[in-house]
Point group: C2
Chain length 334, copies 2
């Protein structure tokens, strides 16, 4: 019998279609051709991106801005979805609401090495990527027009990556995005009657139960969530309560780098380097109460197409129970 499961945070139901349960080998993933050729993110091509807003250089004394000596570099997106200059100018148009598309859209070039991927990078390099997310958030938080910084990574063309050189993106937004708002509402409500963080409750229940655990280290728990939208979806949660990503110290980022490398390493082996999306969810800038929300990373391999049913209903059909996905991933050694 298939199951209907409800996400405890945003209250979204999903269909776990157990009758046609799919294991990794059942997913026919369309492989992209390596595209090769010129890469604007490779060292030496700095003039083809807008000037850097942040860079890490192993020998800082040897590097002016936009010199090729970087180990990580953050630049504004050359084709930004939002513009960093200007005011919001909120206005109405009859029944409608409008504001200027003010925001920052930046690219984190994670490594000078064109072919590197997170599972293969040294842990120090991955920690630097996570630290760069933090550095940019701390900086963008100063701009009072922004309420949220959405950090995400698209790996593989099917998952929306337009360049193959390892990179993440961030978009600073003048509003709190809908999905984060849903999480905030659900977790605030839970705190309201239990005085506990719902994510902390989930960490506790999942560690006791064990069936959906993919990986853990001292600081982080990786699970396939109870009601995942997609097959092999994974969440990385800090074990200790922590609302705002940008407040995590360096040693926590090292733990996250380890968990991220392990999880992506397992997914890479299980699903033969699948395209995936990574999303970081953290406390909005305008929220002062840190008790009910809990930052986390979501990883979604792009294994199936979203079609009319999902678009029309917001209801997802997942062919792989998370217990099966987790058992499979747990057994892979990385």
């Amino acid at each position: 019998m298939p199951q209907l499961r409800k996400d405890p945070i945003v209250h979204r139901w999903v269909i776990i279609a157990t009758e046609r349960s799919q294991r990794p080998s059942d997913f026919a993933i369309v492989r992209e051709q390596k595209r090769g050729g010129y890469c604007p993110f490779c060292p030496g091509n700095e003039e083809d991106t807008p000037p850097e807003v942040l860079a890490y250089r192993p020998e800082p004394e040897n590097g002016e801005a936009d010199a090729s000596s970087w180990s990580l570099r953050v630049v504004p997106n050359k084709f930004p979805a939002l513009m960093v200059e200007g005011d919001l100018d909120r206005e109405g148009e009859g029944a409608y609401d409008l504001m200027n598309g003010v925001g920052a859209h930046e690219v984190v070039i994670e490594t000078p090495d064109h072919d590197a991927t997170i599972p293969g990078m040294p842990i120090e390099q991955v920690t630097d990527v996570l630290w760069a997310y933090r550095d940019r958030m701390v900086d963008l938080k100063q701009d009072i027009r922004f309420r949220y910084v959405m950090i995400f990574k698209n790996h593989g063309a099917t998952a929306g990556a337009s360049l193959e050189h390892a990179h993440s993106q961030l978009i600073a937004l003048p509003i709190v995005p809908r999905i984060v708002d849903d999480e905030m509402r659900g977790s605030r409500e839970h705190f309201g009657y239990k005085e506990r963080c719902i994510y902390c409750d989930i960490v506790h229940q999942e560690m006791q139960d064990g069936t959906r655990v993919v990986y853990q280290n001292e600081q982080f728990l990786v699970i396939c969530p109870y009601a995942p939208k997609f097959a092999f979806e994974c969440w990385i949660l800090p074990k200790e309560h922590m609302a705002a990503y940008e407040e995590a110290p360096r040693e926590v980022m090292v733990g996250l780098a380890d968990a991220l490398k392990a999880t992506l390493g397992k997914l890479t082996i299980a699903l033969d380097d699948p395209p995936y999306n990574l999303m970081l969810h953290t406390l909005p800038f305008n929220e002062e109460d840190q008790r009910f929300y809990h930052w986390h990373v979501e990883l979604m391999p792009t294994l199936s197409k979203v079609a009319g049913f999902e678009w029309g209903s917001g209801f997802y059909i997942n062919p792989t129970p998370p217990e099966e996905a987790a058992a499979h991933l747990r057994d892979i050694r990385v």
Copy 2:
């Protein structure tokens, strides 16, 4: 300057990225190969589907159930996402909620003609398809386990169609799906303080304004909505207030068939037969107040990939302002 626009019903913001506005020719749509070969939906192959639950036959006296003399046929999905037998058996698992995946999953085989598409079908045939949706809803509404019937159509493999023979699907659900619930909440709220249906307000404003109108006939208005998630997204709205699709009489279905044929005809020409999803949104079965909700059809061509930003934020970046899409579609004669 890009714009942030808010959907007036569900209050979802979208980014209209005017700086990189895309016209139809800018979309590189991946074409699917015609797959050919054996088709379980073609006449003569009735034994390869589960037994029909509804069929229209031009000479009903000449057709037993599952005979090949049909002009339209509805069968249970051979690989259903939900199972029609059983009880819901709601239960909790610690922080989590679970129920059995009880529901109906059916396929509407729209025509015996393997190669037919809606823009090319006679209007009577399209009216029959719409009437079959209604017939199945009226029947499934008798089952007290169900609260909603989601009707949708995937055209083209990129949009999720696994067979090319023209068909739609319906899934009867024991819960009201999230997106419909969001629409219900938004329109109920609007009614609460204005005592008007928000969809009626939109119809009124769009007919006066005209810039987002794609097509209209006596009964229906087709627009590119003010805050569309996707480029060339279209909504078909009854001009007169009407909450429940299944209560529309045959002559209204004729008007909808005309609007649907015209809109899909325009999209087919503008975007060279794009893959698309069609979704019907109507009043949930358990809602008795018919004053605030307004059924409608949504059409979404599958032109771009959904990636980390959209998955993480619920916020969509649309490269084509709806005014440009509507002007383009309006000018195409079908």
